[in-house]
Symmetry: C2
Amino acid sequence: MSILVMKFGGTSVATLDRIRRAAKRVGREVANGHEVIVIVSAMSGETNKLVGFVEETSPLYDAREYDAVVSAGENVTAGLMALTLQEMDVPARSWQGWQVPLKTTSAHAAARIEEIPTDNILRKFDEGMKVAVVAGFQGISPEGRITTLGRGGSDTTAVAFAAAFGAERCDIYTDVDGVYTTDPRITSKARKLDRIAFEEMLELASLGAKVLQTRSVELAMRYNVKLRVLSSFEEMSDEAGTLVCAEEDIVESNVVAGVAFSRDEAKMTLQGVEDRPGIAAAIFGPLAEAGVNVDMIVQNISEGGTTDMTFSCPINEVKRAEKAMGDAKAAGLIDFAGLVADTDVCKVSIVGIGMRSHAGVAAKMFQTLRDEGINIKVITTSEIKVSVLVDRKYLELAVQALHDAFGLERAA
Amino acid sequence: MSILVMKFGGTSVATLDRIRRAAKRVGREVANGHEVIVIVSAMSGETNKLVGFVEETSPLYDAREYDAVVSAGENVTAGLMALTLQEMDVPARSWQGWQVPLKTTSAHAAARIEEIPTDNILRKFDEGMKVAVVAGFQGISPEGRITTLGRGGSDTTAVAFAAAFGAERCDIYTDVDGVYTTDPRITSKARKLDRIAFEEMLELASLGAKVLQTRSVELAMRYNVKLRVLSSFEEMSDEAGTLVCAEEDIVESNVVAGVAFSRDEAKMTLQGVEDRPGIAAAIFGPLAEAGVNVDMIVQNISEGGTTDMTFSCPINEVKRAEKAMGDAKAAGLIDFAGLVADTDVCKVSIVGIGMRSHAGVAAKMFQTLRDEGINIKVITTSEIKVSVLVDRKYLELAVQALHDAFGLERAA
């Protein structure tokens, strides 16, 4: 038995006609000898409509009721997909999350998958069913209530099913035809990648590439699920899309796989902070408690016993960060002369597993930006990425220059 | 503990604003000391939209998938109603059918309720919850799949909950303010009834009055559930609406409670049927097998060994009846000279428990129609109703004349 997981996002099931097109792809995989688990999102717009209802009804909503309401959209698509397949004489039935049951934690609206028993669906496959259509994004808590997995939850559902069933591959159908070296709207030289390593995809996803949800890539990496991203609007072929896979499965690759960027960053500087042991904990503890996602951190050289501490965080968390720092100061936990927020910045990153074995990649990035006259405000690095914060106005220029400098328009 | 069941139909929860108005009524009953089970329909239009999706996808749909799809609307309303109540500081939570669990037969799209365990909800009431919001119209089959109860299923859900929990009353909120002596669109003399007996309501519902679903009235009668029909668009008062109750609870009533009518009737005449023992079974057996709902039957006096057999059925079953009779003739089961369908008729009925003790009610009906020059085509009677088939053009005249003749514009 060779099981394939196919996931169709909201735009791929937006109308009955598109559901039919998606079902045809499923039918072809069945004809190829696969048993298929199809994970569906809600028809595009439906979940947003339901979220709107909830937020209008109750701004500080009970997340358990939120989940009960917003999970409705996926149930509709699952039933319609099963019916469409049956019309094509493909034996299929739908499962809602609680019917599998896809067991999750009780963290409503952001639940984590705990367990996916396979017996129910495998028994149906044994009885001759060819396709199990599963409503994505949802599960059931230990208390028997409906949970949802949060943004991008259907990708995560798909990868989790692929892991639980030992699927041959997990195909994510979406409205783009794969993972690109950078956003094609920024440079026409952007090139679709045939393959990309899990680690690279993970960095790209966390750094702002929207094609896959971070958690789904994490999960795929942990269970070594072969993940393919492809467009539901193009002809099927085995070469279509981008395969996200283990490093070993990539024969040749550029040193840098892609250039990511994010406009949603802010740079915050705490001025005149007392430079003493434990000061970092005293600052970042309260920020973490306030739910501020601090990304990059730079501490300046100390002068006269004080220093400046600079960090970046998502732009919509600036107010929260300011309040947390003000409160900590008022409580006597820290002292500082001032707090300056610069929201006119962006983050540009290069990502590539090749950096591990190639020296001088970061230096080449800094050189390239300097040659374009772009001033770097903050830098962070990891084993396979280098990120810099620069003025927002340089975003396109920086991305294009780096894309050229690392030769990303050509495959290795 | 005094439990009240309140059911809100689709028009009563059509928008968030209307859900708020409905929730206010629930809140007032909680303030009056009740624990409340609220049964909700889908927001008006939602179920039709989903049914449309299913029918477009698969004309001969798998009823199990139909149920999975069309039950989505009620789940959304249930969650939104719970959130709305919480916003008003009324402790509430939602239940989907499978969570109760409301156990039904496996007859998908027309399932019957088998059992409603009360322990889950009663425990929550014990813990201080005041309102259980339950998605109407749906349940779970022995196989663990979602079922729906068919048209008017939310009324039936409400009455079944009232019976299971021994509720003080079951209030059905709808877009009319009660049960009328006849349709106010036919005569302005139509009068709202304060009370009506179960048996009368049952006849009126089966005879075309659309205010309550027949099955819900049957269930209320069997378990002696006090059922009140009232408008969600009028001010609350204890005197509002119509109470459907046992005969003993009605002190005074008119001999005739109401005049019902239906335009969806057809008169079929089988001409020249051989008059022999067993001929009725030979005719109506095949009709029943073909799913034709035969209502009235008249057999003419036999002449020369043959007779005419006249029956009525819903107008949209005429084709099916013709095919069933044609097939039976071709198979040699019956013989007849011709089959004539008259679709230009209507059924007018008078209903009242007072008929049991008053002679001459039927005679007075026939007299009244004769005085108006209306020819009666077929008659049927039961203990508490008399129905006649007349030409469609006489519908308004017949209803108005009967309403006047039995003095229905005045209470007894």
